[in-house]
């Protein structure tokens, strides 16, 4: 085989594959709108603070001014108004979004990783199936709150020491959420793997002599992608909410770290007096989840070569 004939095809390879995915993805209108919205949202939380340069925790040190600045409705100075101690809500939304989105994404990844691993192992290896499924039952039955309390209690200081207080907390929160929310995806993946395992192409790989490890990576995992994507989109929503509950219980970030979940919680408290305050984080969270959901749909279609080919 000469280089000349191989080269053009090789060149074509990586590009065409991802372009195909992209082309198909673009056909999914919902997913495209969602992607644009999510990008806007990401820009809002990432680039926003560079433009809107108010510190989310800034309280006017002059008490007289501070008192005057409390509980303001939207205005040019504070497009989303201020909270009960005069902090700028727009800045808090931006800053909070960073944390919420980061936590949600990473926690979801952790949950999906654990869930998929357990599900694949249980589905593929009959011998450990019973054990892993009983483990899943156990986690389902465990009371979440004490579990989180214990985790935080055991590891917070250690994590803070190694990674610094905010990174340490971040890691711990993400792990805590991940560790307590993988069970459903594990079940789904297991069911899927049980079926996939009997597919002829897995048998074909065995006949080639592919070891189990690579069969799983190459043949099983890519094909459980679609249920995992569904679980992932649901996981994002759950993670944002769980983070807010954690913060609320004092298990999350330090109290001066705004997150969407916490803003929502605080907003609900003030719902009678300042109903708009619950609206911002409420919209942000719901919109994120909706977007992720539609993107997940689009991605699932786009990643499936069968649908893509149509």
């Amino acid at each position: 085989m000469t280089d000349t004939s191989a080269a053009p095809i090789k060149l074509e390879k990586p590009r065409s594959q991802w372009r195909d995915v992209w082309v198909q993805f673009r056909q999914h209108k919902g997913a495209m709108v969602a992607l644009v919205l999510l990008c806007v949202m990401a820009a809002f939380v990432l680039i926003g603070p560079l433009i809107w340069r108010i510190d989310p925790n800034f309280i006017d040190p002059d008490p007289v001014k501070m008192i005057r600045l409390r509980n303001k409705g939207p205005s040019w100075d504070h497009p989303m108004g201020t909270d009960q101690i005069g902090r700028d809500i727009l800045a808090r939304m931006m800053f909070g979004g960073r944390i919420s989105l980061a936590v949600a994404t990473v926690a979801m990844l952790v949950a999906i990783f654990i869930g998929t691993t357990v599900g694949v192992l249980a589905g593929y290896f009959r011998r450990i199936d019973g054990l892993l499924m009983r483990l899943t039952d156990m986690f389902l039955a465990l009371p979440l709150l004490p579990l989180l309390l214990v985790m935080m209690f055991l590891f917070r200081d250690a994590a803070a020491k190694v990674l610094g207080p905010s990174m340490g907390t971040f890691l711990l929160i993400v792990l805590a959420i991940g560790v307590t929310s993988w069970m459903h995806s594990a079940r789904i993946v297991r069911g899927e793997v049980l079926a996939l395992k009997e597919r002829e192409y897995v048998l074909a790989a065995r006949s080639i002599g592919t070891p189990a490890r690579r069969i799983i990576l190459r043949h099983i995992l890519p094909n459980v992608l679609s249920p995992v994507l569904v679980a992932a989109t649901l996981g994002i929503a759950a993670a944002i909410i769980t983070e807010s509950v954690l913060s609320f219980l004092g298990l999350g970030f330090p109290p001066d770290f705004p997150t969407w979940g916490r803003l929502l919680y605080d907003g609900v408290d003030a719902i009678r007096t300042y109903p708009e305050r619950v609206v911002w984080p409420g919209i942000a969270i719901s919109l994120t989840v909706l977007c992720v959901n539609y993107i997940g749909d689009g991605l699932r279609d786009a990643l499936d070569p069968r649908i893509r080919g149509r």
Binding site: L149, K161, P254, P255, T273
Partner: protein, 545 residues
């Protein structure tokens, strides 16, 4: 006329878990218990003691208190019967003491009976409490809603280890109070009806009472002030804007009364650094590297605007204070120095103390060490606002502040294994509120004795959380324990209060928090009381006609 006014609906959003105040001293439980059980005497809205089952308040003057202060003799009113119709006797009173002091009973009010040697019953209507040593304040036992009289006949079998398994007794105690329990759903709802044998034939006006639990302060306030579902809601601590909005509803009003509850910042006098070996953190072995200098502590206090805190967090339910003991008047110091914020003064103090911002990062430093502190408190919306505000002011004077909020169950739980209890104080400053029972501050002030510092030796159970230790203070505590006479005792308390606040600034009082409840406009006769149960005079309540 008894029972003429139908049903009274009371809301305790922290639900009542038992009606026996000896098994749980949670305020909600004690107050609900006061619907049924009576002490010998209680406190009125001004903190004065008023007889209840007793004929009068014994004093040295009327001979009720022995001249050597070693005993007090109460006379019971004649003809008082329990709700089951049997007469109340001094045996019941004596039994109550035995019940609470049984070593295996786990009585929550043990402190009320401390120092009692024996209780004698010379006749069915006379009770003599004999103390082991002279008691300058002999009114602790059997007074206030926390120490009511139990019926011997009912609780006879519930002494000691059996106390907690007497479910029926604990949830439906027989009492002398205006109401009788008919149904008790734990942590949910209690149904009571008028006591047919109540000592005042015309009372109570209500035939039935429901005490409901659940929800939060906001919902509780709303249920009285907005929807009118309830007649009275306890502890409706909500933020001032909401207070205003709800009052506009016109269905009810908020009532408040100030007592001794003070929200404060305690300053750790010992080093909480996590670099220290476990067991030495936050112990007197290592003094605090920053706060050993009183000027720093004072600067922190000066930088705070307490008026703003009240306006943001409490509104009518609080007032700024500089004192640890804000009431009653005879023992409250009149210090008001701290009430105006003084940022410049605070900065000056820090500069004097050698803390300057040498590297221009906005944070002061000294000898290469940054003026950076960890500020912890429990999870609570108001406290988090306070944290944010105080952090802002402290940042303004060049102090870096890291905030931490802890689940109240952990923070106040006192679990020796947890690093997050307020006693362990693994932080530089911490915020919480505390008060004392009744009107006498002696036990409260003696919390700051050197030997009450929490540490590994006492499983971190000491009460001297800021680890203040001053022999002069200890001497004052000793003096107080043998001083008789309201005035003299008051003077001593003031002095000690100033030592802890104005002079040393180890405690930075912030807000004097009153009791704050919501009352429907249709209820008459309610008198708010911060010294006893808020339901202390429920027998006098009636429905507006």
């Amino acid at each position: 006329e008894r029972g003429a006014d139908g049903e009274l609906k009371i809301l305790y959003y922290q639900a009542v878990s038992t009606l026996n105040p000896y098994l749980s001293s949670g305020t909600k439980d004690v107050e609900a218990g006061s619907l049924v059980l009576d002490p010998l005497a209680s406190f009125d809205q001004d903190g004065n003691m008023v007889p209840r089952l007793a004929v009068e308040i014994p004093t040295v003057e009327n001979g009720g208190v022995a001249a050597d202060l070693t005993s007090i003799t109460w006379k019971l009113k004649e003809g008082i019967t329990w709700s089951d119709g049997t007469p109340l006797t001094s045996e019941d009173v004596k039994f109550t003491w035995e019940y609470c002091t049984h070593p295996e009973g786990g009585c929550a009010q043990g402190a009320k009976y401390e120092g009692v040697k024996t209780v004698e019953t010379p006749d069915p209507l006379t009770v003599k409490v004999v103390f082991e040593a002279p008691k300058p304040y002999p009114y602790q036992p059997f007074t206030g809603a926390t120490a009511p009289i139990l019926q011997k006949a009912q609780f006879g079998a519930c002494v000691g280890a059996a106390a907690s398994s007497c479910t029926e007794q604990n949830s439906k105690p027989i009492g002398t109070g205006p109401f009788v329990v008919t149904d008790f759903k734990v942590n949910d709802v209690i149904t009571l009806e008028a006591n047919p044998n109540y000592r005042d034939a015309a009372k109570p006006a209500f035939a039935k009472v429901t005490v409901k639990g659940g929800g939060d302060a906001l919902a509780a306030a709303s249920a009285v002030m907005e929807t009118g579902e309830f007649d009275y809601a306890w502890n409706t601590q909500i933020n001032p804007e909401q207070q205003a909005q709800m009052e506009a509803g016109g269905k009810g009003k908020f009532v408040n009364a100030f007592g001794t509850l003070v929200e404060r910042i305690e300053i750790n006098m010992t080093d909480p650094s996590s670099d220290l070996p476990e067991g030495e953190r936050s112990t007197p072995k290592h003094p605090h590297p920053i706060f050993s200098d009183a000027r720093v502590r004072q600067a922190l206090s000066k930088a705070i605007d307490r008026n703003v805190l009240v306006e943001v967090g409490y509104g009518a339910a609080g007032r700024p204070t500089c004192n640890l003991v804000p009431a009653p008047a005879y023992q409250a110091s009149d210090n008001t120095d701290c009430l105006t914020q003084d940022i410049e003064g605070a900065k000056k103090l820090l500069e004097e103390a050698g803390w300057v911002d040498s590297d221009g990062d906005g944070i002061r430093d000294k000898d290469g060490k940054k003026l950076s502190i960890l500020y912890q408190t429990s999870v609570n919306a108001v406290r988090q606002d306070f944290q944010a505000l105080v952090k802002g002011w402290w940042n303004e004077i060049g102090v870096e502040v890291e905030l931490k909020s802890i689940d109240p169950g952990v923070y106040f739980g006192g679990d020796a294994a947890s690093p997050d209890t307020f006693q362990k104080f693994y932080a530089d400053v911490e915020m919480y509120a505390n008060n004392f029972d009744g009107t006498d501050a002696e036990p409260y002030m003696s919390q700051y004795l050197c030997d009450k510092i929490p540490g590994p030796d006492n499983q971190w159970q000491g009460e001297n959380v800021n680890r203040f230790c001053d022999p002069a203070y200890d001497a004052l505590v000793k003096e107080l324990s043998s001083t008789v006479g309201i005035e003299a005792r008051g003077a001593l308390v003031k002095k000690m209060n100033d030592m802890l606040t104005k002079d040393s600034h180890v405690i930075i009082p912030l807000v004097d928090r009153g009791r704050f409840s919501a009352q429907s406009n249709s209820i008459d006769g309610f008198i708010m009381n911060s010294w006893d149960s808020e339901l202390w005079n429920v027998a006098d309540w009636s429905r507006v006609k």
